[in-house]
Amino acid sequence: MDPVGQIRMHKDQGRTIIACFPLYPPLALLHSMGLVPIVLWGLKGHVSRTEAADPHLPAYTCSVARHLAEFLLTDARELIDGIFMYNACDTLRNMPEILADEMRSPGRNVGFFRMHLPMTNRDKAGAAEYFENEIKALVRDLSRHFGVRFSPERFQASVSLYQRMQRLAIDAMDRVAAGILAFSDFERVMQAGAFLSVEDHIQAIAALPAFGEGRRVRRPPSEDSSIGVMISGILPPPASMIAAVESAGLRIVADDVASLYRSYAVMPDPRPDPGEYYRIFYDDHYPCPTLLYTGDRRISAFLSRFAQSSARGVIFFGEKFCEYEYFEFPFLKKKLAEKGIPVLEIDVSIDGGRHMAAHDSRIAAFAEMLRQ
């Protein structure tokens, strides 16, 4: 996947690019207003150095933020028309100001758009109304800046497209679980989707090997001797770690990864009012440590995802310096231990995947333990 080439292609078609900070931006809304939303994660394979970002960010900033800063300050600098972010985390909420001055250049007017997603317990007075106003303000700001208009019909059509992508993604992951699609192929297409238009993403998923319209998923082949594991983290592990998992005789059969399953697991049916739609979208969102109000559902959702899979163990790929994830690991591990489910925790740092020796042996030892 070449994010820059992909963005250039959109630009060549005269499209307007809005770069969204992770984690769960309102993509269908942006799409319905004629913009091409891309999500700035999964850049690990693309951004190899962070020389432009480093003078602006402390070394203890997570790789997601450092990579997206590097990308915006270098390759994507002249290609992006707007930036969208919401209060996904404490790091990201500070990023627009860190980048704004640097991104300013003569003749360019990169719009910064924000929305505040209420993080309170959801039954709290005022949160729903407050959020619907935030969506209204976002629509207004986008309209003003880009000269575009909101249409309830187009919005519903966009939601339907994203739902189609979601269903295909779920179907594809089922095929991964069934052993008829390699996780690495699935993951590659899903990560690439962050930079594709949703229409192209749908085509890319449908074109996956062993993926044909209407074909039903079979249960895991009994002759398969590999052992299923579930992975969890903000991002899927780097390719070298996936390879290490597979060569240790393990197979990823389920994921609880923010840029994968957590992103697409739940999508409500279309509604004409974007305020109402996104209120439901975020309220019902698959739990994530960054969606603070989902805390009470998080553990049970995680455990039931595990229970519904054929996984026999869990590997946490912790994004180095992402405290949201780190606060949860011990409790999740404890709950898994109570059920006798083995767990491996691996820290993935900014150069994660390059220094594999230590990880390889831990993964091999974990596989050995699962086999016994």
């Binding site: 203890y60 209060n87 780190y326 949860e328």
Partner: protein, 415 residues
């Protein structure tokens, strides 16, 4: 050097802290409804109830760090799986709870009935309080404060007020007590009065040589965390301001040979207060002010006192929720800092990059550039962890502080 406990206000401070913890434990033992709160949850709300007391895990963590047992408590949390990359306040607190506050200098905190975190300083507080929520099975109420890049919006304020009302309803339901809004109003007035004295105290930094050090102000923050909205709070800060005025009038200065006036950006390095203040004094340097202590009682983008006009107390509390450096953006941070640097005649700024507090630290490079570019301020970036001494290097810190002093000298020589 920082006066710590030598002054009358220092002795009074010890008493206020001792009283606050003693009262907290005693009332909890007598059946009071106990709330654990994040540092910036407006404690004045609890004054509206007859029998609600609150403990502040962050403040308790700071006490542990200042007493030199921060690392010990952090290690307990690390042993049960909490990453060393997590905020050291959180690790200290989780470590303390893990063995029921065994080594706590304050006999810990009484078991809570309700946890109240917020997202304004950082949303990690909600994650941290969720640890207790899950482990102890205690309800957790999150107050969501929208981050601001420009002055707080009315809609945001109304949203915060609605949550305060909701919090009151939750406590009323859980505790069976009624909230008397008149008492909340009185508590807000008392806090406001005390803050007036606090700002007077901080104002003595304008004197040359400065009447205070930032280290004094760090130590003297404690009542703000544990005794807001009380008469004792007012009495303490009045005593502090008046005593400081007398000392200044009589020519008694903490760094009499003050040659370099510095400004501190970040949380106090609790484990280094004495060493840092004494070593700087030997160099003729005084950190006379800090964003950490100056932001108290203001609003986002200004360290000036934002007075309570006597209206809806909850609206006032909501209006001041973005005051503390972390809940607002770099432009506002820079505006407030620039004003302080000018007012206090600052020679150099110490940006204390703090890997335990990313929300405070993440904009510091940008802010450092802005302060240098726009205001020509000398500055240095040092690495400090506010509560985990294991992540602090004295040698590196003073090498950089020396470089800052040399830079100031060089600028002076060049006119």
């Amino acid at each position: 050097m920082a006066s710590f406990q030598k002054t009358e206000a220092g002795r009074h401070l010890s008493m206020v802290v001792r009283d606050a913890y003693t009262r907290l434990h005693a009332r909890a033992a007598e059946g009071a409804f106990v709330v654990w709160i994040a540092i910036n949850v407006p404690a004045e709300i609890f004054a509206g109830f007859d029998n609600v007391v609150y403990g502040v895990p962050e403040s308790h963590a700071a006490v542990n760090a200042a007493k030199g047992i921060g690392a010990l408590q952090c290690e307990k949390a690390e042993r049960i799986g909490y990453s060393m990359d997590l905020c050291s306040y959180a690790r200290i607190d989780i470590g303390c709870v893990s063995d029921n506050f065994k080594d706590s200098p304050t006999f810990g905190l009484p078991k809570p009935h309700l946890l109240v975190s917020n997202t304004n300083n950082c949303s990690l507080l909600a994650k941290w309080f969720d640890v207790h929520h899950r482990e102890m099975g205690i309800p957790h109420f999150i107050i969501d404060v929208p981050f601001c890049y420009a002055p707080q919006k009315t809609g945001d304020r109304d949203y915060i007020v609605a949550q305060f009302h909701e919090l009151i309803r939750v406590i009323e339901t859980m505790s069976g007590q009624r909230c008397d809004m008149e008492k909340v109003r009185q508590a807000v007035s008392l806090t406001d009065e005390g803050i007036g004295w606090w700002k007077r105290f901080l104002g003595f930094a304008e004197h040359r040589p400065s009447g205070i050090t930032a280290f004094d102000s760090f130590v003297q923050m404690a009542p703000f965390l544990i005794a807001r909205g009380t008469k004792q709070f007012v009495a303490h800060y009045r005593l502090l301001a008046e005593e400081t005025a007398r000392r200044v009038a009589s020519g008694d200065f903490p760094v009499p040979g003050e040659q370099y006036r510095l400004f501190w950006d970040n949380i106090a390095p609790w484990h280094q207060l004495r060493d840092m203040s004494e070593t700087l004094e030997e160099k003729g340097a005084n950190i006379v002010g800090a964003t950490y202590t100056s932001c108290i009682g203001g609003i986002e983008g200004s360290f000036d006192h934002f007075p309570y006009g006597g209206g809806d107390p909850l609206a006032h509390l909501a209006r001041t929720q973005n005051a503390y450096v972390c809940p607002h953006g770099m432009a506002l941070r820079t505006a407030a800092m620039a004003d302080a640097v000018k007012r206090l005649n600052i020679d150099g700024i110490v940006f204390a990059g703090n890997r335990s507090c990313k929300p405070y630290s993440i904009t510091q490079f940008g802010q450092q550039q802005k302060m240098a570019g726009v205001f020509g301020a000398s500055s240095v970036m040092i690495d400090v962890d506010h509560a985990d001494v294991r992540k602090y290097s004295r040698e590196n810190t003073f090498t950089r502080l020396d470089a800052l002093i040399e830079n100031i000298d060089m600028k002076r020589r060049c006119g």
